[in-house]
């Protein structure tokens, strides 16, 4: 598996495990395997000079956590905003049996906007949710067809948008 993306969105579950690895480190306790996996993915992405992206919801959650844990994560990540049509695409993704939360994170992969650079969408979404990743890959052809139909009916900047890859943290760690 080749995995050398220039832009990556971490889903909330991955950020949670990175955060919790730090909580355990503060207590002198080793991370659990899930926490270790997420924290190692994060470390490898950072070592490659990538600034991982997070969603607005994840940023809001971190903003309400103690700054001693959350401030560094907020400083080291980019918070994507929702470009127009993100929710419309998320609603259509629900037809492929994604939960609303899964649909939103996948839609951020195409319609998440980095206000600093103007970049829209990311190459890969990294998740802990195996079920979501498998469902996405299994139905990718149908999803892509639906996506193309939607964006081709929109005005100019939108029809250049792409679907992201959905990669589990385990896969990312093995491939980075």
């Amino acid at each position: 598996m080749s995995f050398r993306p220039d832009s990556v969105l971490l889903d909330k579950g991955v950020v949670r495990r990175i955060y919790e690895a730090r909580v355990r480190a503060a207590l002198g306790a080793p991370p659990t395997p899930l926490q270790s996996e997420a924290a190692n993915v994060y470390a490898l992405l950072r070592a490659r000079g990538l600034q991982p992206c997070i969603t607005e919801q994840t940023a809001h959650i971190l903003e309400r956590r103690p700054p001693v844990f959350a401030a560094a994560l907020l400083n080291q990540t980019l918070t994507l905003r929702k470009a127009r049509y993100l929710r419309r695409w998320a609603r259509r993704l629900r037809d492929f049996v994604f939960s609303p939360e899964d649909a939103v994170i996948i839609a951020y992969g195409s319609f998440g906007l980095d206000l600093q650079t103007g970049q829209v969408g990311v190459e890969a979404v990294i998740t802990n949710d195996n079920h979501m990743a498998i469902n996405y890959r299994t139905r990718y052809a149908e999803i892509n067809e639906r996506f193309e139909a939607m964006v081709n009916g929109l005005t100019e900047p939108y029809h250049e948008l792409k679907l992201p890859h959905i990669v589990t943290a385990t896969e990312a760690l093995a491939a980075l």
Partner: protein
């Protein structure tokens, strides 16, 4: 990615350059995880980013982090789930007011 060979007695030798790169020392623990994708070896202890974060804390911040960590670890899984579910995003049409129109190029 590195390839490891299992020897007759079950031992696996990690290439010296990997040992050097990862800062492994005799006695360090590694975790072996049986995942759907195969066997994964995780470096025990703390990853480089977490270690750097911890090392960057002042004494006062460390005490604060420890106290906050105890509070967090004392929460039930349900309480932790609730924290990480705050502010779930609606995908309904009437929530679309905060979406940003992309500029035409």
């Amino acid at each position: 990615m590195e390839r490891l060979v299992v020897e007759a007695d079950g031992k696996v030798v990690i290439p010296p350059e990997v040992i050097h790169r990862r800062g492994l020392r005799p006695g360090d623990e590694l975790s072996l995880v049986e995942a759907a994708e195969g066997l994964l070896v995780y470096q025990g202890g703390v990853d480089a980013e977490t270690a750097a974060w911890l090392a960057g804390l002042s004494e006062e911040e460390r005490r604060l982090a420890e106290a906050e960590a105890r509070r967090y670890e004392d929460l039930s899984e349900e309480d932790k789930d609730a924290i990480w579910s705050e502010g779930e995003e609606s995908i309904e049409t009437d929530a679309e007011g905060d979406e940003i129109e992309l500029p035409t190029r």
